[in-house]
Amino acid sequence: MPFGRAGILFILQSVSMKPEKRKSYSYRQIHTERFFKGSLVFISASILLVVLAIMFTLIVQSTPSLRSLGVGYLWGKTWDPVRDIYGALPFMLGTLLTSFLALIISIPFSFAVAIFLGEYFPEGWFSNFLKNAIELIAAVPSVIYGFWGLAVLVPMVRSLESAMGVSPVGYGIFSSALILAVMIIPYAASLGRSMIQMVPSALKEGAYSLGATRYEVIKSVILPYTKSGLLAGVLLSLGRALGETMAVTMVIGNTPLMPKNIFSTGNTMASVIANELGEADKVVYNSALIELGLVLFLVTVVINMVGKKIISRFTEE
């Protein structure tokens, strides 16, 4: 990439310079450079445009619901399409509960995998195999996770629930969080692994030469050095968990009620939209669902911003 930047810089200079200088580049070269720069600008701008357009569409389409329901929409507990009463709180709670629970469950696994592959076994057939397996976890379509959850996880959670004395349903927030936890492991693990591999060996060797054990090296050299990368991976995982729809909708139980505990059934914002948008025939209903999309969008943005703040605070020292 340095070639591109240098080239562009050169064109910028050459345009304002004297004619003798310009001779060293042919017209064709300059043309290519211009075209290349132009397309880069166009592509970057179009990404920005797409994000803004999505935001704009969401706001415009949720206006009817914003008007008729107001801000009470955010903490309303009832979702009743028959009476045209819509409150997003149960679904917001569902989304946040499943995502954060999944994150808590997945972090030990993803960090362990990252350290194992990054530090203990960076090479060899076994680590290659493990690396590919982790990447495969990310590549499996979410409906397959949903199906697996339905067939395997739900009955297991059901027997756990009857052993604990909770109503043995099996579906619910806990099952969804378990599925999500598996699905988001690769994001934090892959990023963490490449970060750990990038720790300069001089640092590690220095620590070893001072008599540190492997655990001590990981604890006092590698982890502090890679903190920001590990946290960024966690943030990436969280983003994935917040928006996941199919796998969650298959095991969460889809009830429009406030979740009482982590074993109760619930619903998430993404799953409600997917389930109900197709037949939302009333204006306010349709618009309330789109507003749910807007809320999900904003929740994701806020969590991302907060996460970035946390990362920068952690890494400034």
């Binding site: 990439m1 397309s39 880069l40 166009f42 592509i43 179009s46 990404i47 797409v50 009832t78 979702w79 009743d80 399409p81 028959v82 009476r83 339905l150 739900v154 009955p155 059901r158 109503s167 043995p168 349903v169 099996g170 579906y171 619910g172 909708t249 298959m250 139980g253 889809n254 009830t255 429009p256 059934t265 619903n267 799953s271 389930n275 109900e276 197709g278 037949e279 939302a280 025939d281 009333k282």
Partner: protein, 367 residues
């Protein structure tokens, strides 16, 4: 170098998707009325339809048979009744199919008269998972409402036992299963409960998706059926055809006349054998017929009464009306093997009369 290549590929992909977005964006913004494929007068040998997923297996069979006979291509999109109604409102399809009649709001949005032609009838059955119980369960309207309201929570509740004399009921918790997605099946089921139970009417009401007081949601018939099969003590409502094909046990329902009726093609046809009003907009739920299954419903094809809109040709209108006429007569034979109840004679007569009122530029389409 590899990354550069990848980047340029990604860039290309973006440019393509961007331009596609822009063109479709413009299309729907400026010319959705005149641009939609249904109205291109150039291709009059294909008819577009959309709507009820309940009708889809039957329609697939009917349309492939009709295609063999006439060469007419019918493209039906099974996107749900609400989607079909939306499509017809936007005039992007020639006909919609729905398990519910248009609501007042929907009719107002359409602005012009729409006719409802009944094409088939189906039933919603209560399937349950009680391995201990070998007999078929009996359910009454009040017990059913109690279960779905959450006031009856155990299978050995006295109210269930009272209508199931001699059946040994287990003390397990009842797990209610309903549809998670909006659907015509839910609409028929909640319409029935609204008719037979005051409590349900005031607290929940009817619709393709309602605020369920208890239970868990499964996506689609297969979602509900899967959840019921898997969860001990579960009860859920699914379409009759689906329950028969999957060998699931289902309950006998007490009808208005007080008889406990096993859902079957015969008892659904019986339910539809009532006086059908001239506009065919009738709910079969809680039927008066003594041998009719009470949670039955008609499914309708919806078309505009005046077929001359958006440069549609007279030929296209005639082809479509003839297709629907065929569906309610010769097409009915394909219903029974697929577990759809054939229309009663009353319903066919009303459908015929309705199709005669369809006009093109003020003149009747059928002579």
């Amino acid at each position: 170098m590899k990354t550069l290549k990848f980047l340029s590929l990604a860039g290309l992909a973006l440019i393509f998707s961007g331009s596609v977005l822009m063109t479709t964006g413009c299309g729907s913004g400026a010319g959705s009325k005149s641009d939609s494929s249904a109205n291109k007068s150039g291709d009059d040998n294909s008819i577009l339809g959309a709507g009820s997923s309940f009708d889809n297996p039957l329609f697939s069979k009917m349309f492939s048979e009709y295609n063999k006979n006439t060469g007419l291509i019918i493209n039906y999109q099974s996107i749900g009744s609400g989607g079909g109604i939306k499509g017809l409102t936007d005039k992007t399809v020639d006909f919609g199919a729905s398990d519910a009649v248009l609501s007042d709001d929907q009719a107002k949005t359409m602005g012009v008269p729409v006719i409802h032609v009944p094409v088939t009838a189906g039933a919603v059955v209560l399937s349950y998972n009680l391995p201990e119980v070998k007999d078929t369960l009996n359910l009454s309207p009040d017990v059913l409402a109690g279960i779905f309201m959450g006031t009856i929570t155990k299978w050995n509740d006295a109210r269930i036992a009272a209508i199931n004399k001699g059946v040994k009921l287990p003390a397990t918790d009842i797990q209610v299963v309903h549809r998670a997605d909006a659907s015509g099946t839910s609409n028929i089921f909640t319409t029935y409960l609204t008719k037979v139970n005051k409590d349900w009417e005031t607290k929940v009401g009817k619709g393709s998706s309602v605020s369920w007081p208890v239970g868990l949601g499964g996506k689609g018939n297969e979602g509900v059926a899967g959840t019921v099969k898997q969860t001990p003590g579960a009860i859920g409502y699914i379409e009759l055809a689906f329950a028969i094909q999957n060998n699931m046990p289902f309950a006998k329902m007490q009808n208005k006349a007080g008889n406990f009726i096993t859902p079957s093609i015969a008892s659904v046809t019986a339910a539809a054998n009532i006086q059908i009003p001239d506009d065919a907009k009738v709910s079969l739920t809680n039927t008066d017929a003594a041998d009719g299954y009470p949670i039955s419903g008609l499914s309708w094809v919806l078309i505009y009464k005046e077929q001359k809109y958006n440069n549609r040709s007279a030929d296209r209108a005639a082809k479509m009306v003839k297709l629907i006429q065929w569906m309610i007569h010769d097409g009915q034979q394909y219903g029974t093997p697929l577990f759809y109840a054939p229309l009663s004679q009353n319903a066919v007569n009303v459908g015929d009369a309705l199709l005669k009122t369809v006009t093109y530029d003020g003149k009747p389409v059928l002579q």
